[in-house]
Subunit: 225 residues, 2 copies
Amino acid sequence: MSDSPPGAVDLLGVLAYAELTAFLKLAEDAAALAPSLTDRAALSDLAVAEYGHFELLRDRLAALGQDPEAAMAPFVAPLDDWHAQTKPGDWLEALVKAYVGTGIAGDFYREAARQAEPETRKLVDEVLAEESRSEFAVERVRAALAENPKDAGRLALWARRLVGEALSQAHRLAATRPELALLLVAGGAVDGTSDAGQIGIGRLFSRLTEEHGKRMSALGLVPGP
Amino acid sequence: MSDSPPGAVDLLGVLAYAELTAFLKLAEDAAALAPSLTDRAALSDLAVAEYGHFELLRDRLAALGQDPEAAMAPFVAPLDDWHAQTKPGDWLEALVKAYVGTGIAGDFYREAARQAEPETRKLVDEVLAEESRSEFAVERVRAALAENPKDAGRLALWARRLVGEALSQAHRLAATRPELALLLVAGGAVDGTSDAGQIGIGRLFSRLTEEHGKRMSALGLVPGP
């Protein structure tokens, strides 16, 4: 990995574990919360796509001579914690999580990939191009809101919680994996004290907030403050 | 479906739901019981293969003008019950279940497919040809038994319970879906009273028992009485 920028293995590792665990959590939600077998199959389909991404990333790590298990290990706790804090209580929450969660993750990866080496960037782009599969969730949520508009309030709060918990875990990760954080803030210091780091983080957060707002609108939800 | 033998839609329906639910249960076991991320990925890989089979079967039902959800519906309760009765308590039990469960299911489908129309038979063969993926479970179980031979007793009992519960659910299904049962016993009556039905069922059970014995040996376990 001497020809890869610092943080590149971390990027592949966090992305790989995120995809593996997204697969398992989506399958769990499909089994527990889908109101019909058709819906169960639709969320399962999304889950299986995430597994496919995991395989690409794991194989890339192996091709770089890295142990995938070791590369993923530092990210198990923060990602598991995010899922534990955002366990959906019903089918609509599961759909919003599938769409918003995939979206937030995509935003982080896209930022990080900008700074990565070309091969990794290409792979991350490939993984992200597939994320439009979660669009089925948008249709279902919009249809449900058309029938029960009063669900909009609680789902908007739910989506805000998904982002809040994601930023909280990202903050925790940035402290322990400075090189990964460096990839995200594109060249600034990231200890939160230097001006360059602050500007980088500020930019990153406003990009994430902007993208999240678009997703909320797509779902028919008010983004909120 | 006027050109399909009675029971053909049932066969595709039970196989489709079995694969969908196997996918979800294997994913659940991978998330809950795998001792390492590598093991979690290996069982996930098996789960994803099951989902691929589900898709083939669902699409075949749709191509026959059948509603996949309706075709699967009669089989939800018996298959869910089987899984509820056979929830693995640890990783070794999960591996034995992945291998033995996939094997038992395969035996049933193989018998049923003999009598099905050529297109369905071809599809079932295609699905079954893939089942060798569960062989990874054999390697892990054998390695574990080489280290701790005393686990053999409880795992043999566990495997026997998997079969016992499967036969019990199959019996329940045969009573409610006589046309599917007919496919299984190859031309005999299946009400359990006529001689032809009894002979057919007797043959089926001895084939299942024989195949199960081979799988137990492969795992390094004593088949038991």
